[in-house]
Amino acid sequence: MEMICKHVWARISEYIDQSVPSEVREDIERHLEHCELCSAVLDSTRNILVLTADNRTFELPVGFSKRLHERLAKELGSEEELKK
């Protein structure tokens, strides 16, 4: 079945996750072959997902790990204190 752009857009997220049924997948791919608009939408979405998921985009605050383990050490230590 020939898909229109709007229907492809509605399925883009599932298509990226490879969770569309195979027959729908084929319809989408047939559409993408000739539609530069949907191809660009798909490429830009994928690209944006790669960029946002990069560890450099969301960085942990400086010293986060150190403070976390210090807090945990304190918790482990205080338990020890209680036992005494």
């Binding site: 969770s19 660009a40 944006i48 997902l49 946002t52 998921a53 560890n55 450099r56 945990l72």
Partner: protein, 216 residues
């Protein structure tokens, strides 16, 4: 993570947990080490504030330690931990206000349509090296932070932390279909908000779709 390393990790964790519970409690440091980033990002997706997110992450770790004996191996340790941090963050948020925004978000959920992407005719891939630019990182972060709360939370777990649909649903206390719908909307919103900017600032000028239509 593929299935084999996933299973190996789970076995490894089960062993660590057993040792911690039998007294080698210092090993808890090692148990949570792989999840530091996950703890922080998850908390941040709820509270949207660095200081609060860090506090929630710490509280969650302490809480997880105190309740470790209650962890049942029927779910993954990571899912259990993420559920704890989500709850910590939600409690913190409740304390600090904002029931109002939350209900606005919920109201939006029923709306159909309008979750369409920005139409483009060509896309020149932006390589990861471009992330060396601070400005680009800021633009990406801001776009994610500006997503409505319920969409940002799903996006953070699914796309930033690569959690699967089932675990995301479990951690957030919603069904899998809601996870899929929210993720789709989050991605479309990001594409719509970011694509025009990224195209303009990072790709060389090229005649676009509208440029080829003389009547416009």
């Amino acid at each position: 993570m593929n299935a084999t390393t996933g299973a190996a990790l789970q076995r490894n964790e089960a062993e660590l947990i057993a040792r911690i519970l039998s007294g080698e409690k210092e090993l808890f440091h090692d148990l949570i080490r792989p999840y530091e980033r996950m703890l922080y990002l998850t908390a941040f997706s709820v509270v949207k504030n660095e200081t609060d997110a860090e506090e929630c992450a710490q509280d969650a770790v302490v809480n997880a330690y105190r309740n470790l004996a209650k962890f049942r191996g029927d779910s993954k340790f990571s899912t259990w931990l993420v559920t704890i941090v989500v709850n910590e963050a939600r409690q913190k948020l409740r304390k600090t206000k904002r029931a109002k925004e939350e209900s606005l978000d919920e109201a939006m959920e029923g709306e159909e349509g309008e979750y369409t992407p920005m139409p483009l005719t060509d896309w020149r891939e932006i390589p990861s090296e471009a992330l060396e630019r601070k400005e680009l990182r800021e633009v990406l972060r801001k776009a994610v932070e500006e997503l409505p709360d319920i969409y940002r939370q799903v996006f953070t777990l699914r796309d930033l932390q690569e959690m699967n649909v089932a675990d995301t649903a479990k951690a957030l206390g919603v069904n899998e279909n809601i996870v899929k719908v929210r993720l789709h909307r989050a991605r479309m919103m990001l594409q719509k908000n970011l694509a025009p900017y990224l195209k303009k600032t990072t790709a060389p000028e090229r005649k676009g779709f509208w440029g080829r239509m003389p009547w416009r």
